[in-house]
Point group: C2
Chain length 417, copies 2
């Protein structure tokens, strides 16, 4: 069985809303072993939705449509599906009753527009709504099927998990699943990762029914190594992937900072929580970006004291006690780390200073960043980074590098004095 | 002229990467007055990319393909386009030379895979690469055209802005120049902006060959009001748009914070530079996000002293001198503003504290944010905000709100004491 995803909404084409529904469905379809070769976005236009549905049904066994089931005059997915089915729309009394109940529970009056949401093409079945007012639809078209789901992501996900994915899996019969795992890497160039993994990739190409390895690079979030595998069940795949993950980790070592959705800031937060130490930052070139990423981790208050964003040279001297002299230097980074630790009353201090451009500063070239780190055991030598890109990319890469430095230090605390 | 977008990459279909390129291009196409009716995602599969390109060329005048131009064996967009053009791929010496230079500059050796990136279908033209190693392509197919752009968003955006969008606009012909201007709004709900603009929108519908007004809303970047006009020349359009901008500003007042690519942080920076005052921040809930946005403005060191990200209650008390008592309160926000001003030696102090969730804090509901502001003339009353959304959305909206508050205060300095 293969399925396509059709996201409906002019706001998606205009870029006012980024379509995350298709990505989520794509992942779930892969996990369920259902191929998805094409995903399409179309606006709120009857003829174009009808054309997109017909084209998708020519190529695929199933189409999952997201969006356009709401109560406004822009919401026309229901009518488009009815036209493709060649079936009239009739009110479904059970669905209508549920919408009425929902309005009564909220103490509001149901409008005629909301009654439209109870229309179901003859031959189709409504998927009862649990969260919003819009029901979904399962619409047979010959031996193929159109599923319609509401656009709001939490409604869509709930309904897809409850009815659509199980229905698709049942149609596919006993089959295999595709399971992926992503290892996230920082500190190695893409070409170096490829070189290190090459023997493993070549060995796998010889093996039957094995794991495939793919590399995805991003300048600001590092490299992702995707392991994927077709298997009879997720648990069977999980065991094979455990073994493969171990093999890849043996080649890449500690440059692997996370798995799947784990972030660098999450890894640092977990490491700090594990050792029970608090962190104080002094940021110049990153301007609060390191702190902001750490604050995005729920529960950060347990291990993050704060950050002094000392952007001016005066603030570096008066707040952090950085001595006179160049403020983009290894010794300034170290003084910032010491100052942050003291001012914020933290166990660990980290200082980062550098030049993000557009122009060089104090004779230091654009992309140069110094990072200082002080732990209860003492200071580590300052680290010098040479980063590529524009102002924003340099700041983002500096942020990732600083967090990674801290992560590695927390994995290998130095001997005490 | 109408254009479709084709995003290439198996990682997009599997949901490992959310396709934000299509959304960005959709927005820019709309701003350029070019229709975009369909956006498609396809995996790294030669036959399916070829089929998707052919289908798009049947429907549209132009296709913008993103992704699949990299150096690895998965990157096959170039070959698929050559097949659709019916043209062989030949190396472009200028492109090859540039790739070689880039590797030499970085002190690295160019691999044979990177040489593949210099292949160009006969009849196509390479778009020189500025950021990454992948050049883009402009590929005529009969009287239609395929544009190929690299997948990494910053490379894609730079190349699209520099070559693809101007080329598309030129194809639309001199008689059909569409010029747009976007006014950026913060502090008003979308429905309120619609209400205020309605008389003007209705008046324009009566007028011939006039300006059209459209609203685009984003939860974290405010509302954009797009004025667009078909005219004989950009300069003629500019005059009309000047008049229309004035009319819209008269209706929306000071909630207009910028035009086109002007950002809120840019507006604040310009206002600070104009009055010659420096700013010190104290951030809790935003965790450095306000500072980070201000640092992204080149030349920020002239007016930004820094920020104390006091995430823990202790840091608020010890570094900023916030008195005992609740730290998510109007008085704490004010104390933070005073503390930041003093500690950082700045003219203006701003403090922001609040609850981003997931759980409420000190009995204060999620989304509550307090903002304090102290200028040389004295303190303004603290402002309370009630923001919607998840943790990240609340932090981003808080950041915009704080910057906007400062912008408005700088426009209307209070009388001195």
């Amino acid at each position: 069985v293969n399925a396509e995803v059709l996201a409906v909404g002019t706001e998606l084409l205009l870029g006012q809303t980024v379509d995350t529904n298709s990505a989520w469905l794509g992942e779930r379809l892969a996990l369920a072993g259902i191929d998805c070769h094409l995903q399409v976005k179309v606006g709120d236009n009857h003829d174009r939705i009808v054309a997109a549905l017909r084209a998708a049904l020519r190529r695929a066994d199933a189409v999952i449509v997201c969006g356009g089931l709401g109560p406004t005059h822009d919401d026309i997915t229901r009518e488009a599906i009815a036209e493709v089915m060649g079936a009239p729309l009739v009110p479904d009394p059970a669905v209508l009753g549920r919408i009425r109940e929902m309005f009564a529970e909220r103490g509001r009056t149901m409008s005629a527009n909301n009654a439209r949401q109870a229309l179901v093409p003859v031959g189709a079945r409504a998927i009862p709504q649990v969260i919003g007012t819009a029901p979904g639809l399962i619409c047979p078209v010959g031996d193929k099927v159109i599923y319609a789901l509401p656009g709001p992501p939490h409604e869509m996900r709930e309904m897809a998990s409850r009815e659509v994915l199980p229905d698709l899996v049942a149609r596919a019969g006993p089959a295999s699943v595709i399971v992926s795992r992503v290892l996230r890497i920082w500190g190695l160039a893409e070409s170096r990762v490829a070189e290190l993994l090459n023997p493993r990739i070549e060995a796998l190409q010889g093996a039957a029914g094995g794991v495939t390895i793919a590399l995805l690079a991003s300048s600001t979030e590092g490299i992702r190594v995707r392991l994927s595998l077709r298997a009879h069940s997720p648990s069977a795949a999980g065991e094979v992937l455990d073994g493969e993950e171990a093999a890849v980790r043996a080649l890449l070592g500690e440059s692997v900072f996370g798995v799947d959705d784990q972030t660098m800031e999450g890894a640092v937060g977990a490491a700090l929580a594990a050792v029970g130490l608090t962190l104080g930052l002094a940021e110049s070139v990153t301007g609060g970006m390191v702190a902001s990423r750490l604050v995005s981790v729920p529960g950060a208050s347990a291990w993050l004291a704060g950050s002094v964003v000392a952007y001016s040279a005066e603030a570096k001297r008066s707040v952090l006690g950085v001595p006179d002299g160049p403020v983009v230097s290894p010794s300034a980074a170290m003084a910032m780390a010491r100052g942050a630790r003291e001012v914020l009353g933290a166990d660990i201090g980290v200082g980062v200073t550098g030049v993000a451009g557009p122009a060089s500063d104090e004779g230091v070239p654009v992309g140069t960043v110094f990072c200082g780190l002080v732990t209860p055991e003492g200071a580590a030598p300052s680290v010098r980074l040479s980063l590529q890109g524009d102002r924003d990319q340099i700041r983002q890469a500096a942020t990732m590098s600083v967090l990674d430095l801290l992560r590695l230090r927390l994995m290998h605390p130095p001997e005490g004095p």
